[in-house]
Symmetry: D3
Subunit: 265 residues, 6 copies
């Protein structure tokens, strides 16, 4: 059950309304990484969650995001209000101006309606927590960019509050994931195929126009890693009983595709 308290979680003060900045703010109201997306993702994960401990956390944070949605909405509303009367302001977001009368709607900065396609909900707790960690990181960087484009001190204060809370949530989700005590690469119940799981396929090769080349780093070298290069890859990969077997079909491929050409009937 939800209850609404009329007070904002963080009091909003806006000096001079800036409709074009108000339009940008909509990214965090009705955008892909915005507050409704956060509120819905965590609350619905909570609703599905069978672990009562982490369910409590999901509901705590999901509810806080609803309060954030309200803050962003009020902020955007104050910046967008001139759109109702000023033709010049209206051009910054005609959808808000004409269809919305200068009021906010669940749209992003380009007028796209919010969609649940933004959400990542799998019903697998540790997977969902990973999605949430990433979601908070994205929201943090979006708030940072908004702060960088903002001139109004009161608005910046509120954005700093909201940005800070994303890091709080990132920490909480990370602690919740770690407290599950699972191996970081153990997802679900079916084990990946040994051997194959450590093969790094070198699928992009050559030298780029700016001199880019193949690179070795801890993501493909050291530990168990084994790099598989194109000539081997192109023979096909078959995994049985935990080891990778190159299926041999003699004379299979000739470079450049110049052979085995048949005429179309």
């Amino acid at each position: 059950m939800y209850h609404h308290i009329k007070k904002l979680m963080y009091t909003v003060n806006v000096g001079t309304p800036d409709p074009r900045f108000g339009n940008m703010l909509l990214e965090q109201f009705g955008g892909a990484n915005g507050e409704l997306a956060a509120a819905m993702q965590y609350s619905i994960q909570g609703l599905n969650c069978d672990d009562p401990d982490r369910k409590d956390m999901l509901m705590d944070i999901g509810t806080e995001e609803l309060s954030h949605l309200e803050i962003v909405g009020i902020l955007a509303r104050m910046h967008l209000k001139p759109m109702k009367k000023s033709r010049d302001s209206a051009e910054a977001d005609p959808l808000i101006a004409i269809a919305g009368g200068g009021g906010v709607g669940l749209f992003n900065s380009m007028g796209d309606a919010w969609t649940a396609d933004y959400l990542k909900i799998t019903g697998e707790l540790d997977v969902d927590l990973r999605s949430n960690i990433a979601a908070e990181a994205r929201a943090k960087i979006v708030y940072e960019r908004l702060i960088n484009f903002c001139d109004d001190p009161g608005t910046k204060d509120a954005l700093q509050f909201l940005m800070t809370r994303e890091i709080t949530h990132m920490k909480a989700f990370t602690a919740a994931l770690e407290s599950l005590g699972k191996d970081p690469f153990s997802i679900g119940n079916i084990a990946p195929t040994p051997g194959l799981v450590d093969e790094y396929f070198n699928d992009s090769t050559g030298v780029g126009d700016e001199g880019e080349t193949d690179v070795r780093g801890p993501w493909n070298e050291g530990g168990e890693w084994k790099i598989v290069e194109p000539p081997e890859l192109e023979q096909g990969v078959e995994a049985h009983n935990g080891k990778t077997v190159a299926k041999t079909r003699k004379d299979d491929i000739e470079q450049g595709g110049k052979t085995r050409i048949k005429k179309s009937a």
Copy 2:
């Protein structure tokens, strides 16, 4: 520049086509966590990436996902083919049957057209890597569920291959993130507000119908954590100079909303 080799990365064998399972497989062809989503997310992150080392990795893995898309497409195609002729099969996915003639399209198992709203691309490398780690975890669990609903040994083999590769990628992205050497909660350049960042807001309280209560765990207790309870929260949170100041407005809230009622004009 891309090149296509006619051979599949993993040879597909299907015993008895199962159109309803073919419909399920579309989740990994045109669905939210499917192979096109993976291919596009990583490849476009790579295109935007200014770090030439991790850009190489993003292109390697993005390209591998294109090869996976082809495998899933061929698998689904083989399972869906009876839809062209059998009315009973066609009912499993009339869109594929009637609009597609039994061929695959970029739809999920419920016929929703693939949309770039599924993608998470921020242009901030460490953030993108977190999104990718989560994306691979989601893809892994989806393949596991497909395997659990599948009876055909050849199909299961191919799905096991694809599922394994998701863990490979999860490892690579994790190593790439760690090799950046950043603090795990340091995102972007603007620091979160000290003090406030360690406050955990207890926004969901009470006792649930099945006895759910508030819980303490490493996500809100220990270390720097400080829990803020509703009475304090409801007075409003203001953050200045690194510490949280409860804004005092006397007599602000009365429980139950029974006071300060004014008549509507």
Copy 3:
């Protein structure tokens, strides 16, 4: 600011889970006339509202709908849970089964992601109240249909609760609209053109295959109504200074389009 109380607003009891009914229930979770649509429509109207009295009402009802969303979500979750393990159940909604692990998501019964395109928010209070009255009527009829397709007594009880509340809200919105004291056809500030406003254009004529014909009723006859028939309509309607002037352009139209035919170059 929002607060969550762990108790459901209405306790849910489900006897035998019925996954296909759970799929139907999603209409009221993530569907066009469902609880999220109601919660968002009223809450965002409230956020934009400059009339503090009716704003309070919009927030009261918007918040109640969030509590309803939670009830429907729990109900659907209980009916959908078998999808995680049973292939037969999974076929009722493969998206929920495979991508969601049997947990609810913000989709309707056909797997369409919830979209803010469902919402009607104009920032004009009396217009918004009309949209809300209609929204509640739609939600009521959808709950009635769900009850009619439902066999489980506990589920029916909860649906009866939810259905009843829609009528409560319909009454409240109607009272709020009437208390504004405006003429029922006075919207905004610009007056419609007198005369023209009372003309009923008879744009569909003839006799249908089942004998349908033109009908006169209080929507086109009596009071100020004046019916305009096709021959007059087809000469073009021009409104100046409050009266409708039929623009006369001699020989303008010949029935059947057989005249004035020119050859294409």
Copy 4:
């Protein structure tokens, strides 16, 4: 069966094309409250309608809206045409300029493709009429806003014509609804639960930053209304046999959620 007459229902004259205004006009061509939405909503309701009298009205008005779509399209086309050649104009709507060559498409002012998600069609006649009344009110206010942003006299004339017709339709739908002779809150066949239906839940309480408080008005006071305050609400609402029974579970809730805390394992 439809027939097209080459003459516009209202002759359009545009003085100086204004591409940014043309972009705004698209709200009424391919937007959520625009003419295609109206035409499709009423015509499809008519197609489904079993009441031959009101079906005739739905077809009359649905067809008129098609003629309006044509007028708005021609108006927008005339304002948008400079986009084809002028880079500055093209920036007002690059989608129209580059993909459309300066011609209109079924997009709104922010380039969103028209979607049937805008429509409200339930197959329940009185409910559909309420949706239509609200739809006409929305369309009226949108035309008013367009008129307020418009400088061109010929365009204003056409918009005044279109705006007036929305009120005409609002009157017709209202008369049609009233002529059904139903109780205004009687929707469908299943009666709401007596008692519960008259309870107003006070779900938003406290005092806002600008002094907003709880309000009593005809939407929650007088007549049968009974206000339910949060402490009672939070115990859970159960409705049996026409009266609301508060489910008593002793010691259920402690304010602030500070008790019953258990440690996470």
Copy 5:
């Protein structure tokens, strides 16, 4: 201006309603290649068209498609009607059953709302005509598939009528395109680069699992065609002054990406 005549363009007789077939029929009501898509595509092209001769044709055919939309809608309505009462029927399309009360809506067979993203409108007449020829071919094959899944003679008659008309329109659009007298590969005003335009890039090579190989046919051999093979392609293509110059950067690529590997910092 439009006019509606109550008579259907083709009288519809349905023997036994078949709700699952009714669901399939929605492909041609609210689907990607359906009648609304056709009506809107041609009518809006007509609205934008500056060639008065072909504009007349676009309006003729666009209007006919509206009459087809009505026929398909009535057909589908008759097949879907049992959904209102029968739970078993309702499972064929819960969206229609529960949200629509058994009435049609602008959805396809999988419940996706119709979207203007289906339309192809460029404002370039000859290009639009090519899009229309393709659209008619698609609609024809969809009707054929529906006929093949249909048991009801009356429904088949109506579908045969509709299918036939698509070929009529295909002929008309083809004649209109040919009568423009343009070179078939001359689009717009800017000439393609000579030489380069005749190069066929062999971007897919090798031998497939079922023996697929490179093929020569009239689409890459004979006439002006020149095939460019991968080794040449991979050096980069630069077109100046009408001829293709291979940009030489010595030692550029080594097969397999085994060289120029640098260590990640």
Copy 6:
């Protein structure tokens, strides 16, 4: 299986970045007629294709379009990069600036996420080839418009390359279609109804405000064409045994709908 070569297919040089032009370029990256749409349409058609000869061609061209996607992406990236830092640039596309940090995403010039609804894939080879011919014509005209709005010589060079390739593909698809040796109006297996197929319905009549009238051209006159005028049309068309029979129902229609009016109950 796919392989990526780091070199661009066409080397890109950008003089002065132009963020508003970069925004326009997104039409060809994530827009309806852009390179991803082309790549996916042809590659998935190829995946479904049972004709090994034309399948090779579909894979060749589908793969080339992936290489084009990369070129457009790099071009757009270079033009959009200033958005990360400049508020003025950011206003050209706030979604790219704020959510994307100045990096490209799969959006069009108005921020709409790419959707598979843009694709035309039917699983019927000759139909798909027609869709491809039209798609290439659309892409060509879009590139031409971009060139016309572009000031940067390096960008123009790359666009000229891409535009030229569309004509190449148009030629290849046309040759592939013609080499099938089918009658141009023979689609699928069911023959259209003789007689009816040659009737041109004159559904738009009268004289327009600018003097538009009915036109005769090769699309409705000559050869087998027979024009059917409204009076005949409005009696209903019934096709049996290969000839069109006007169903006679006496006194069926009276002009203007003035008769047979019944009073609403």
